[in-house]
């Protein structure tokens, strides 16, 4: 019993340590606050005017906000891997591993504090979205559900990135490598365009891409969909909340134990 209490307390200490950094490292502040604002504005005004309302049924501004949310929280998750690799490189993990702390707490603390970072990013994006004309057209509870689902999804991706960071150990490599995967993952989806506009194989990929389902789920929960333009008739997008949660469950089942094992093995030099 006290082992669990210690694990919670240790994770909390690590979370606090990570969150302090947000205030003290300017790059991080830019990453957390300014780049989401920039994304909303760029997509809303550049793409929004160029693409116009395709057969998305609703105003494009409203259509793409959920997509930007999804993309930003997924990118936010790369920070988990980056930070763990950096901690390994700087030797602080050696200190942690020599302490009688719970072996899971460094990685748990990291992923939890990255939820915090994503909460800040989402809040900033939501406010910017409201300024450019996005509206929530559902109930408060549904909207909260939408945000929670986005956070749950990014939490799962964080655990994948934790494993990557602990394996790769070089922060820059973690960033570059994950961008190569995440860009296609967030673009071959319904984030910025309607899947019906994508050619065959890409459409199939997009239909089953969990980034599409979390985006679709968020759109529905924010009330940003139009019954005249229904989601593609595939199970994943007809049941986007459930499909997203299944992904979250599978990812956590695999990557939580894997990351903790990798952490324990990660002799940093």
């Amino acid at each position: 019993m006290s082992a669990i209490r210690e694990a919670v307390s240790d994770s909390w200490v690590i979370t606090g340590r990570n969150l302090r950094k947000i205030r003290r490292v300017p790059d991080l502040l830019v990453f957390t606050i300014l780049s989401p604002i920039m994304f909303v504005l760029l997509f809303a005004y550049v793409f929004g005017n160029a693409i116009g309302s395709q057969d998305t049924g609703v105003d494009y501004q409203e259509f793409l906000i959920a997509g930007i949310f999804a993309q930003t929280v997924v990118f936010g998750a790369t920070f988990t891997g980056y930070s763990l690799a950096e901690d390994l490189q700087k030797g602080i993990i050696d200190r942690f591993r020599s302490l009688p702390m719970s072996p899971s707490s460094v990685v748990v603390g990291r992923t939890v504090s990255d939820i915090g970072i994503n909460v800040i990013s989402l809040a900033v994006m939501a406010l910017t979205g409201l300024v450019v004309g996005w509206r929530i057209r559902s109930s408060v509870l549904e909207a909260i559900g939408g945000f929670l689902l986005l956070l749950a999804f990014s939490f799962a991706i964080s655990w994948i990135m934790a494993s990557v960071g602990l394996l790769v150990r070089a922060p820059e490599v973690v960033n570059n490598a994950s961008f190569i995967v995440i860009f296609p993952l967030t673009f071959i989806a319904n984030t910025f365009v309607s899947i019906s506009n994508l050619p065959g194989p890409l459409a199939t990929f997009a239909n089953w891409n969990p980034v599409s389902s979390v985006t679709q789920a968020a759109r529905e929960l924010f009330g940003n969909t139009d019954p005249r333009a229904p989601a593609p008739d595939v199970w994943s997008l007809q049941h986007p909340v459930l499909y997203t949660l299944i992904w979250v469950g599978i990812i956590l089942t695999v990557f939580v134990p894997l990351s903790i094992r990798l952490y324990q093995r990660a002799a940093s030099r």
Partner: protein, 325 residues
Amino acid sequence: MPPAIRAERLVKKYGEVTALDGLDLEVEEGTVMGLLGPNGAGKTTTVRVLTTLLEPDSGHAEVAGVDVLRRPQELRRRIGVSGQYAAVDEHLTGLENLVMVGRLYHLGAAASRARARELLEQFDLTAAADRQVKGYSGGMRRRLDLAGALVARPPVLFLDEPTTGLDPRGRVGMWDVIEDLVRGGTTLLLTTQYLEEADRLADRIVVIDHGRVIALGTADELKSHVGGERIEIVLHDAAQLATAREQAVGLGIGESTADERDRRLTIPVDGGSDDLVELLHRLGRAGVGISEAGLRRPTLDDVFLALTGHVAAEAETVDDEDGAA
């Protein structure tokens, strides 16, 4: 009383490279053991194994009465570690770093804070307590890291090259701190490639090379093991070193060694000042210009050279110069 640290037949291989090759080690409670060896001898690997950071391929180790491999978590409550690279968080202040470590030892928030203040005071960091560590000097970071190792008042302490990379003043400051510490009865395993450091701080010394113990004893025992005294001659001109070496043939009790950069010739002898006078005569006749000459007891450098056939570290000569400056 059982030894505070006992390692038996530790083996650790990295692919083809054997870092530890059946290393044995015993450290009595309340004493300082110096683990001396060149870069790559296995010093850091030994510390990492004994502090649960690395699992050996085989062997057995007990620290503070706890089996290192079987009960790592229990062991971590009883040891402190400070490494070659200061393991502190740059973006936290000195105080925050130590409070964090205290909380991770589960001392509780208030006790962690009190202990952190105490250590900052002890290590002369109170003025910098609320500044982020990224603004600290190398010596300050090292002191903070050492303070981190002491948060839980561990009975056994491991210091891996605590003064590597510090300037001479920082090094002497660190030695004072360590001496204070062991006066309080802490058992200390200290690794170093500086013979001077082992000489000054350690009660006993083990010399390791290629992952094996090659000598063990007090500094004096090791020195007398090598035997005799050393004649040291510094020439005006390094070009005459070869001539000087020829003249010294038949005089000493072993091979002479020449150091081109310092224009220095060292000859092990057992005839004391008679040998020195004889050598000076011979060099005078051969027309070798001498700027310094003297007789001295063997140092740990000589011990190391005699045992391993090479000097302790390239850095050593550089630091000698710093020390003399």
